[in-house]
């Protein structure tokens, strides 16, 4: 008797497995089609619609969208008011990214290099914990903390440093009656909310640096500070770049924090919200929405040019 293969009994699931095993391309298709549909139609599709909308304009008189391609809407982006909105958002995103990086690096370095076992788990939880509670709740909490009657003002006044804080709050750009109505408050809240997105990529990058590289550097005569500058930091740059992409783009797009905390001057997110809502000017909202996308594209191009991803 000659039997081929099939040592096991041919159950239905067994023969289905064999069917798939013999058709690797089918398996690939089954795996890829759902995410590609999602990405292609729902995500790219809506992005394209957005792009298309931005090339239409609105009739000032009837407030109806005129479906004819025009650059007029984009031209309106370059009015002084709109440019200041873009510049304000860009500056805030940059400041938030830099501060997040400065705070996140030592923390990520400690978690990656020194903490182990329970301590590491504890740090992970500490970094992630804020993400487990509602975003709005946390922002409102900061509004209270930063308010004139809040914890920070109270602490600083108790230390007798109230005049210093008041003086800082009268500085140009900062200007606000309290922390919760100044850019300082906005920045603090942004940094707090986005910090985990900076810590985790840096920590992951540092985690991937093998101990032997640090030993090799030390072995070749480098003191700890030189090893840090020549080996550890360069190898952490892809992590810093990844983290900064998160903090930068999340700040560019956010409209709730600047709405609740800080001066009432609008950011890009608020502008989009107002144009598509109250004003009903969908083309203008779309044009504004394109701004963070373009800025991010430029940001990534610069990061790549500077070699931020070379060590990947």
């Amino acid at each position: 008797m000659t039997t081929t293969g099939a040592a096991r009994p041919r159950s239905l699931s067994n023969s289905f497995s064999t069917f798939l095993y013999q058709r690797p391309r089918l398996v690939l298709a089954l795996l890829l089609v759902p995410p590609l549909l999602w990405l292609g139609i729902i995500y790219l599709g809506s992005l394209f619609t957005l792009l298309a909308q931005s090339f239409f304009s609105i009739d000032d008189f009837t407030a109806q969208t005129i479906y004819e391609p025009t650059l007029a809407t984009y031209a309106r982006l370059f009015t002084a008011t709109n440019l200041s909105i873009i510049f304000r958002t860009l500056a805030m995103a940059s400041v938030v990214t830099v501060i997040s990086g400065i705070i996140a690096f030592p923390l990520a370095y400690y978690i990656a290099r020194f903490a182990s076992g329970r301590m590491k788990a504890l740090f992970y939880v500490a970094v992630m914990l804020p993400l487990w509670s509602n975003y709005l709740v946390r922002v409102y909490a900061w509004k209270l903390i930063l308010a004139k009657e809040g914890a920070i003002h109270w602490s600083i006044n108790s230390l007798g440093l109230g005049p210093v804080l008041d003086w800082i709050l009268t500085l140009p750009v900062v200007e606000g009656s309290s922390l919760s109505t100044s850019y300082i408050g906005t920045t603090l809240t942004f940094v707090y909310i986005w910090l985990p997105f900076m810590v985790l990529p840096i920590q992951a990058a540092l985690e991937r640096v093998p101990r032997s590289l640090l030993e090799a550097s030390s072995d070749l005569g480098a003191r700890p500070n030189e090893t840090f500058r020549k080996v550890i930091f360069p190898l952490a740059i892809p992590g810093i770049a990844a983290g900064s992409i998160f903090t930068f783009s999340l700040t560019l797009g956010d409209y709730i924090i600047p709405q609740l905390i800080g001066s009432s001057r609008p950011f890009i997110g608020q502008a989009v919200y107002q144009f598509q809502g109250t004003a009903g000017d969908i083309p203008m909202a779309a044009a504004f929405a394109m701004v963070p996308i373009v800025i991010m594209a430029i940001y990534l191009a610069i990061a790549k040019r500077l070699g931020a991803f070379d060590a990947l």
């Binding site: 030993e215 072995d219 020549k230 080996v231």
Partner: protein, 343 residues
């Protein structure tokens, strides 16, 4: 300390390194001579790598002193030691070119750019990687990375070069080739090489002297020939080469004494059961339990009638009528080849 070939490069003086209750290195004393190729051989966890790391400065001794060229190294950090290491995983900096990797130590010592480039390039030439300076380590093969790691260490002209299983990740052919090259490079530069390996073949073929480690202590420190021909302990006999250890009743049946002993497989003659045997030879009878044909030679496992088992290797100098599996054979060897061990 009173070695004929000159100064002492590294001296271990009552050195211990304990991790809690684990004694990785346990009260070890030995000297490494200046300019020699010194191997530290042993199974994993025997303390050989810890000894290497003690010389490099990555570990500090729990007790005792590590002395390098007359200077006590206790408390001296790795970056202040005149020794360099070739790491097991090479530890090349992935974000730097091959040339920058090699020039790293020179850069740290603030050697001017032009000079350090030139020295690094010369060193790359020496390890047969001239023209590879512009590549990244990820673009090199395992063997090439290994050479870069060697060049990166040697360019600093260390007093002692430490090599931590440097050939472990290479395939057999490349490993044998690198053994020859390493030995040649060591002769050329004249630097003391301290070589950690678990491969006895590597240790025997390259080294001037070998220290065999077991459980944090040195079992024997001797030349490769002495180590193979006159192993001091049963452990050394077993770890270096095939041991053929006979103990207790089996030893008495083969040699007349119950003392543990061993005979190297190539020292044993294997004859048909009816063949004539020299009168002064030591003999044993047994049954061939397995035959392993290895090309250049054939390895026989013979179960002795008096108990125990001996491995015999025969050169396949010409096709001869071999005993078959299960056949009864006579073994004989000269008494001077028998190695006896204190219990």
């Amino acid at each position: 300390m009173t070695s004929s070939s000159g100064a002492t490069a590294v001296s271990f003086q009552n050195v211990s390194r304990h991790y809690g209750a684990v004694k990785a290195v346990d009260d070890v004393n030995f000297d490494i001579r200046d300019g020699e190729f010194f191997a530290m051989l042993g199974p994993s966890g025997s303390g050989k790598t810890t000894c290497l790391r003690l010389i490099a400065g990555f570990e500090q001794p729990t007790a005792g002193h590590v002395v390098v060229h007359g200077v006590n190294m206790n408390g001296v950090p790795p970056y202040d030691r005149d020794v360099n290491t070739v790491f097991q995983d090479y530890a090349l900096f992935p974000h730097m070119t091959v040339l920058d990797n090699v020039a790293y130590g020179l850069m740290i010592r603030k050697v001017p750019v032009a000079q350090r480039r030139q020295q690094a390039e010369e060193m790359l030439e020496m390890v047969a990687l001239g023209g590879f300076g512009g590549r990244k380590p990820s673009q090199l093969s395992g063997g090439q990375r290994q050479r870069v790691a060697l060049a990166r260490a040697l360019v600093n002209h260390p007093k002692v070069l430490l090599l931590d299983e440097p050939l472990g990740a290479l395939d057999l052919k490349l490993r044998e080739q690198m053994q020859v090259e390493l030995k040649a490079i060591q002769r050329r530069v004249g630097i003391t090489f301290v070589y950690v390996t678990h491969d006895q073949g590597e240790a025997l073929s390259m080294s001037d002297r070998v220290a065999v480690f077991n459980q944090g202590k040195i079992e024997q420190l001797a030349s490769p020939i002495e180590l193979y021909e006159k192993p001091a302990t049963t452990f050394v006999a077993g770890f270096v080469g095939i041991s053929n250890l006979l103990e207790g009743a089996a030893a008495r049946a083969a040699t007349g004494a119950e003392q543990a002993c061993s005979i190297r497989p190539e020292k044993i003659h294997l004859e048909r059961s009816d063949a004539a045997i020299p009168a002064d030879a030591m003999t044993a009878r047994g049954r061939v339990s397995s035959i392993l044909y290895l090309g250049a030679n054939t390895r026989y496992e013979v179960a002795l009638e008096g108990g125990g088992e001996l491995t015999v290797t025969l050169q396949n100098r010409e096709a001869h009528a071999e005993p078959a599996e299960g056949e009864t054979v006579q073994l004989w060897w000269e008494a001077r080849h028998l190695m006896r061990f204190a219990q």
